[in-house]
């Protein structure tokens, strides 16, 4: 959307060098990269804590050829996927069932409201006890944490269905089950999609946490090992990797969410704009 021509104002305020809008993000990224390249080299930032970015990036490049790197990445992804999958697989059906019945909802609300704020990381020691220090622990923690996100989102989505829509369906003679599948579920999908996006981030966090704290194989553990082994470039390279992973995974869900929201008649319970 082009801005309205404001000749007088622009003429007055235009500084000699004006970076065009589209270039701004690139300029700032470049600026940051340059900063983190130069400052360590001239000693403003201690080099053993802040290796120049070029070294980190080249280490990352090397890692891309290492089997160990990809193994760590796949371990993390495994934990993330299983955690999210189990969480969704349990939370969506349970959420639908509870959400569809006012009594069930009221009955379970107390339990949900108490269990939900429990920081799942508190269960780390329990996970170690029961599942050891491998994949199962990871998945247990990730699933536990993600479960609540998806559950709450599903509950909200199922309950927020437009009563007019369900009443209309009922007047047409649809059975309870049919109404569920044809009216309630489709209208709950956007909320579930949002919940899944958040749950995906949560699952990644818990997966990496488990790797870091428990030592389950994966990026989290590798990062810690790199640090304790004095290999700072590798540590940063791996942190970068988790960041990239986070961005990619988030991107997938954002795109999916957008697509789901696009065909869905806008049902945001947000501002009731005038």
């Amino acid at each position: 959307m082009t801005s309205v021509a404001r000749p007088a104002a622009v003429r007055r305020r235009r500084p000699p060098l004006r970076v065009p809008d589209w270039l701004l993000p690139w300029v700032s990224v470049l600026g940051v990269l340059v900063l983190f390249e130069v400052l360590p080299r001239i000693g403003v930032l201690p080099r053993d804590h802040f290796p120049p970015i070029s070294e980190t990036l080249s280490t990352l490049g090397e890692e891309l050829g290492e089997a160990g790197f990809w193994e760590a990445v796949s371990n993390t992804l495994q934990g993330w996927a299983l955690g999210l999958g189990i969480a969704a697989g349990l939370a969506i059906p349970i959420g639908i069932v509870i959400g569809s019945s006012r009594l069930l909802y009221r009955a379970s609300r107390g339990v949900i409201e108490f269990l939900r704020p429990i920081p799942s990381v508190a269960l780390i020691p329990l996970a170690i006890l029961i599942y050891g220090t491998g994949l199962e622990s990871k998945v247990f923690l990730a699933a536990f944490a993600s479960f609540w996100q998806v559950l709450v989102a599903t509950l909200y989505g199922v309950q927020d269905v437009d009563p007019v829509a369900t009443d209309t369906a009922r007047s047409f003679g649809f059975s309870r089950l049919q109404r569920l599948f044809r009216v309630t579920l489709p209208s709950a999908v956007p909320y579930i999609a949002t919940g899944l996006r958040i749950a995906s981030a949560v699952s990644l966090i818990l997966t990496v946490t488990a790797e870091l704290v428990i030592g389950a194989p994966g990026l989290g553990r590798s990062i810690n090992l790199a640090r304790s082994g004095g290999n700072e470039e590798l540590m940063y390279a791996l942190i970068l990797t988790t960041g990239i992973l986070g961005v990619l995974l988030n991107g997938i869900f954002v795109r999916a969410e957008r697509r789901v929201l696009r065909w869905h008649p806008s049902q945001r319970s947000g501002e009731a704009g005038a």
Binding site: T2, S3, V4, A5, R6, A8, A9, A274
Partner: protein, 271 residues
Amino acid sequence: MLKVEHLGKTYGEGDDAVEAIGDLDFEVRENEFVCIVGPSGCGKTTLLKCMSGLLTPTRGEIRLHDERIDGPPERMALVFQEYGRSLYPWMSVRQNVAFPLRRKRLDKQAASELVERAVESVGLTGFLDRYPWELSGGMQQRVAIARALAYQPVILLMDEPFASVDAQTRADLEDLILEVRRQYGVTVVFVTHDIDESVYLGDRIVVLTPAPTKVQETLDVDLPFPRDQLETKEQPEFARLRAHVYRSIKRKRTSAEPARAPEEQPATTRS
């Protein structure tokens, strides 16, 4: 006092350009109550936004007391149509009315007096500590008017302020604005699409054409003060003026292109 000189406003560029205002030229004198009427979509809101300095004109200029308007002038207040969205919901009535006064650096006593006087003149004295959402639409608009009055502007702009309330409330508010204008002696520029309202309230009526907007004609309203909802409207002069304005608006429409004036254009409010 206020001069609009060859005002023009075009939105967009190139092929998408929409000329909301073509060439507007008129004047507002001290203490006048000028009503601006026109068909829907004739750029009335755009005009007010330019007059209040919220939008920069593409051509021409507007002068207040001979100074060019280049951003909201200090002695001018504006009352919006959407009262609900112009009052700060987290502030009480008192705080809303007092808020613009912070600019004037008055001592607490003086500011308080201004606020209370303004609120009293709109008849909401008991509601000083209520919040906007606790009030009805008509009352909210009165708060907006009180806020404008307490600010002590020399000129008050009103953008279809009574369009969103019911007819009864509208009649009350019309009488209210006449009364406070008398009390405060402020010049008023009142934009409306309601012909009856424009004749009832105005000293002078400016009729606009559809987009690209120009002044169709200006006429004086010779009805006596004080105006009364029943008596004034029974006068033959009222009916004559009303019919005249109506014909004036209708006349140009048949010969104009079906131009779409973007009244609801997202005014590029610089933040």
